[in-house]
């Protein structure tokens, strides 16, 4: 577990350079400011849970990291290298498509609605990108894919199509698919929100075991407060495009300092 001492500002001071670094990132949709001068740093192997009310910008953070959205101002860096911009001479300019594609290989994402490829089996879903993007041979991709699917507990469902799998199984395939690309950072966007309650457990268990085993760096937007509390290293509470409060998971849940955090946690716990 990483030791870090958060101060009361939104900046987190950590021992080593952050793997993911948002610096004063702003994003607006017309008149609506979704992210407001966001500063966020995630260390290697750190597991960060992002919680907050809807519209607070949580999902946008992940989508921008995955290059699904552009930023309006600020800078995002991965492992010291700029993601949203690229060096030109000694200046930084907006990244072009080639740079984004190169950097994108460091990030993997699991979506709320799985987004599995319906015309491919579970195995093929996990083999597709390694073959097409990484240029792996069919044999290598097959081995990697079946190994990962076994790790998520679906060794017997390799030849099943998504329509033949339950929601929990589909999401586990989605996790395996993302991991097959060996990203440095894994993003989880409310991955249990679209699942029936009894299916959440299997997905969370997989996240927990894989996260620990592979020492993954993770950013998770989640409503699963119990999971965040006992699994995440750090929790960030978002409100209106800013981090209202962040800190070690247990501390934040047991003793929230900020009033809005307290309100939110009260409302969420009441609903359970």
């Amino acid at each position: 577990m990483n030791e870090h001492a958060p101060d009361n500002e939104t900046n987190t001071v950590i021992a080593e350079p952050p793997l993911v670094h948002f610096e004063k990132v702003t994003k607006c949709y017309g008149p609506l400011t979704v992210l407001d001068q966001l500063d966020l740093a995630v260390a290697a192997h750190e597991k960060v849970a992002i919680i907050g009310p809807s519209g607070s910008g949580k999902t946008t953070v992940l989508r921008m990291l995955m290059t699904l959205e552009t930023i309006d101002s600020g800078l995002i860096s991965i492992d010291g290298e700029p993601l949203t911009h690229m060096p030109q001479g000694d200046k930084l300019v907006r990244a072009n498509a080639a740079h984004l594609k190169r950097m994108r290989g460091h990030i993997g994402m699991v979506f709320q609605h799985f987004n599995l490829f319906p015309h491919m089996t579970a195995l093929k879903n996990c083999m597709e990108a390694p073959q097409t993007v990484l240029g792996m041979s069919k044999g290598e991709a097959h081995a990697r894919a079946s190994d990962l699917l076994a790790q998520v507990g679906l060794a017997d469902k390799l030849d099943h199509y998504p329509s033949q799998l339950s929601g929990g199984q589909q999401q586990r395939v989605a996790i395996a698919r993302a991991l097959a690309m060996r990203p440095k950072v894994m993003l989880f966007d409310e991955v249990t929100s679209a699942l029936d309650p009894e299916l959440c457990g299997e997905v969370l268990a997989v996240i927990r075991s894989l996260g620990q085993e592979h020492q993954l760096t993770m950013l998770m937007v989640t409503h699963q407060m119990g999971f965040a509390r006992e699994f995440a290293d750090r929790v960030c509470f978002f409100h209106a495009g800013r981090i209202e409060e962040q800190g070690p998971a247990r501390a934040l849940f047991e003793n929230p300092q900020n009033e809005r955090t307290q309100q939110f946690l009260r409302a969420v716990m009441d609903a359970v």
Partner: protein
Amino acid sequence: MRSTHSATLVVAILCFGAGLWVTGFSSLRDFLPELLRGVIVTVQVTAGGAVVAVVAAFGAALARLYGPKPLRWFASTYVEVFRGTSALVQLFWLFFVLPHFGLTLSPLVVGIAALGLNIGAYGAEVVRGAIGSVGRGQWEAATALNLTRAQALRCIILPQAFVAMIPPWGNLFIELLKATSLVSLITLSDLAFKAQQINQNTLRTAEVFASVLLIYLALSLLITVAMRALEARAARGLRRGRVG
């Protein structure tokens, strides 16, 4: 797709078949061989036109969606012009006007080209619509896995769009089949031409035209059945299966 309609189609065929049988099936034997010769030409034009249509449709749709500006403009013009004028006008234009530009093509080639391009223009919209109907999540998943747009299109999007476009293409192919009757007007000996010919020779108008209508109906049904089978095969994995 006309899903419930094959039943009515079958009933219609049976009724007409019965009607013909009553009015003297034996007479059908007299001109059936001639008619079948016409059917061969009709099938040729339909098949050739179908190939041209599919190629033109995909080309135009992809050009309009992803091509550079001049290509996009060219594709849009093609679609608008061929959808805005009727098949007969296009057919006649290619048949009567092209020779003036030094390009004399056989009626068969003119027929296949004109009708193929005509249906292809409508097909371009079908292809565009089908590509657009694939959920955004699929594109996002492809991006998250770092596929290029071309790879995403080829491996993820088009296979799914393909299934969605089979029913409308089925309807377009039937329109193509019906449009082939127009090539009789540019001296091609298709089924419609034979019908006119036999009618003029034998004056057994009702029988001839009724048989011809029946044959076209049967060919339509063939297309419907074939497309239905194609859809079933292509949708293997995409069908809403049992949730295990």
